[in-house]
Assembly symmetry: C3
Homo-oligomer: 364 residues x 3
């Protein structure tokens, strides 16, 4: 097993036995088999190892190639396969380790400020920071230890960043943004732009106060292309441990709780708040000033128009409880049938009525 | 009141009387009380001043701390509070002034082109411009007076920018973009990318002409992550005074009127036009070639599929008048009940019919 | 016809005859008429030429100015207009050529690496590449021939770019991104950010493996502000010839087929796949692990919650066939009317029942 060969043009390899030893697994089959890479079932090719982690998961691979892998990692021996396998107690974790082994080796970045980075003289940086070329850091910015700030990131005046933060390329932090420790922000994300607040005066929209900032607590991760606006007078805040997916929009003054999961393209208008462990699925929208209780879960594309208590699942636009919405949706698909029934009933009743009338006339 | 103390590590302070004098307000309570900061009710702490602007607004503050502020600004004396207060005729404006007083002082940026900015020799800059490090300005670009262009902004060839414009970090203007005066653009916004126009030829999608540009008129503000595509042959245009929130998408050839408000995540397909004072709430979508009349208001998440006259509110997808949509929505929540009623009626009528038949038979 | 005059301050001009010769068209009217620009009907002014390409298209122009152009390009002679015209077999293509003639001339960029670009020593660049100022290219990156990489683009370690690719400003490619040939990517787009995958452990969301990359095949075009996440262990892949509009989000592990058209603000959750020639209209959302068959077309704002076979049009949220959805929508608008009918029927039947009872009593 060659630890140093993984540069351009020289692919890494290992025997099945070496891979099994690396992850503490057990080989079934030929341990001397040479493996040249690792890939998921949908794109694995001969010579590579793959992952079969689902109980009873099909071993057919993709439609064109069948099961193309030369070996696989799994949790329990598969007697229905002739291929060599590695049995691992945590097959996903084990496979991740094997994938990493085959990835191109990347030398660590040099600690310090690269030439081509622009760091204002008044900024303070902790030990072990990597500030790459093309970074701009403003006046009086404070950055903790071991942060990695990548090209094109702009950190405006008076921002404060904790320890062990990672800012991917082209992130923008407006002035006075605060990040806790271990915050990770993906490319293109913008924290602290002005809130969308205007008052009308003589036919013009006049911008209201935009004096607040954005505060991101510890262990928060923000996807790519996220925008979080500053508070009006105070902070827009994202609570500890919350994870936010790509292209999410969070308006001014919002107070997002701890350990929330906000999926892609969610839009939250100004002054909303959420409890802890709230989950918003993709493309959900919240009207301004909404509160969602602890553990509330809102389904994809729902539109929340009123406060919702926690511990429940909500769907639809306007969003109501899953129970109610499922009933409504079930009936909605039967609307054309219902309309026909209704027409039929009306005709029947009209007939009955006219017969009654006729009968009444005859009787009279 | 110390005008120069607000640097890192040294917090500003002022007495309540000094703050009242600053904003032309009147103190009720101890004017010598020392105040160390200003924050909104949801995050104010002891020693700070807050804002109580709603008539009859609760003075309870947040759930954990109660009313934590040491004083507050308000519009009319609150006899239900023991706390010192400043009465101001415009409490929001007054409070904004006070918040600003406590913010860290930021020295103005140096006028001129920073080292580390790349400005093509053929570009023309007006007086008083601040061009920060990491800016790229292309060939034949013209920029007016007193513009502030922040790091990572790219202004491509032949673009023209008016006076007093502010471009926040990492904005991109494609070639021949035109900005009027006092245009403000937040980070990550992209003006002038190609429209999504293709024709199919032998199974390929072939890009159609992308020869136009984007024109932004005076006093327009664009949020973060906005994308506005160039026109096919001419301009995509945003009218004077229109304000556009984060992550809005505007397609090629659109003609957005004056003083519109387009909220976050709105998507407008190609060749749409809007009158003046149109409001689109969050996540609204417009099909291509739609026209919205003056003053049309479209509610959140609505989908506009046909031209809509102005001066009305529209909801739903497909969007119809608020009146119609409210009736539909009201009935939708009763759909399960309606279905039960319908089933019940059918059974009743079936019974009646069989009884009639039976009665008929008996009568016969 | 002056080929060199189109610099700032000096507008180009040509006679109608010269323009007709340029595009191989035929003049009807005064061929010596001097033309000073070209613009679409909605913004053309006197002295310019416009396009009238629709059969029977109105010649009224816009409401304020009427038909302001001095001449127009068309496919078949318009006898209902007194204006000079150029008849062209492909009027749109001809008009595009004329528009281009009047655009400001832009000198080609210098081949090579601009000062102010940061290209790692281990990166390999093909012949004819233009690497502009403010570009950052990481370790072991390979770039083919004739690529144009614009300011603010960041290409992270071990990425590979084919021939003839264009990367507009402020694009970010994470490590190991692969682009085929003739790939065009608009500003602000981010390829390879981490997927939104977490598992919960002791109340924390722990990030799962993020070891894959993004692969973009030949002839793909990506709009502005697009985000495509890396695969978990393998690749997220966009097939040959697929075109993706602004602000589209594609989750980890997705396998998008060939020649798809994904319109603006579409959101596709993780592990989805599409066949070839799939079309998703604006703001469509797909749940994770969905498959759409070849040629499936999904209408604007629809939400796809289950696999859908190809060759059909789908609408609504949850999405069903157009046929079914159109029937549902038609009935939805009649819901208030249906509810009234239902109430009426119930009352009628109640009356009938009570009359029957009364009749029964009388008869008894």
């Amino acid at each position: 097993m060659d630890q140093h060969s993984n540069t351009i043009g020289i692919a890494r390899e290992a025997t099945l036995g070496e891979l099994a030893a690396m992850i503490g697994g057990q080989v079934i089959g030929d341990a001397s088999l040479r493996i040249f890479g690792a890939a998921p079932l949908y794109e694995v090719v001969s010579g590579q190892i793959t992952l079969v982690d689902g109980v009873g998961q099909s071993l057919e691979g993709n439609a064109e190639t069948g099961f193309a892998a030369s070996a696989f990692v799994t949790g329990a021996a598969r007697t229905d396969s002739p291929h060599p396998q590695i049995i691992a107690s945590d097959p996903r974790g084990a496979f991740a380790q094997i994938v990493e082994y085959f990835l191109p080796a990347v030398a660590p970045h040099s600690v310090g400020i690269a030439s081509g980075a622009h760091v204002h003289a008044s900024a303070q940086l902790g030990e072990g920071c990597v500030i790459e070329s093309g970074v701009n850091i403003g006046r009086c910015v404070q950055i903790g230890q071991r942060c990695h700030i990548m090209p094109g990131v702009v950190v405006m005046d008076h921002s404060r960043i904790g320890d062990d933060c990672v800012l991917f390329p082209n992130v923008t932090l407006y002035e006075r943004t605060q990040l806790g420790n271990r915050v990770l922000i993906h490319s293109g994300t913008v924290l602290g732009a002005y809130g969308f607040g205007y008052r009308q005066h003589q036919g013009q929209h006049i911008r209201t106060a935009q004096l607040g900032n954005v505060v991101i607590e510890d262990d928060v991760e923000l996807g790519a292309g996220v925008t979080i606006d500053r508070g009006t007078y105070g902070s827009t805040r994202i609570g500890t441990g919350t994870k936010i997916d790509n292209q999410v929009m969070i308006g001014h003054n919002c107070q997002i709780g701890q350990h929330n999961l906000l999926c892609s393209q969610v839009g939250i208008a100004g002054s909303c708040s959420t409890g802890n462990y709230v989950v918003l699925a993709g493309q959900v929208g919240l009207k301004d000033h909404i509160h969602l209780g602890d553990g509330a879960i809102v389904g994809a594309q729902a539109g929340v128009m009123e406060d919702l208590p926690g511990g429940q699942v909500y769907l639809g636009s306007p969003a109501t409880t899953q129970r109610e919405q499922m009933q409504i949706m079930a009936v909605q698909r039967r609307l054309p049938e219902m309309r026909r029934s209704l027409k039929h009933l009306e005709r029947s009743l009209a007939n009955t009525a006219s017969k009654d009338t006729a009968a009444g006339e005859r009787a009279a």
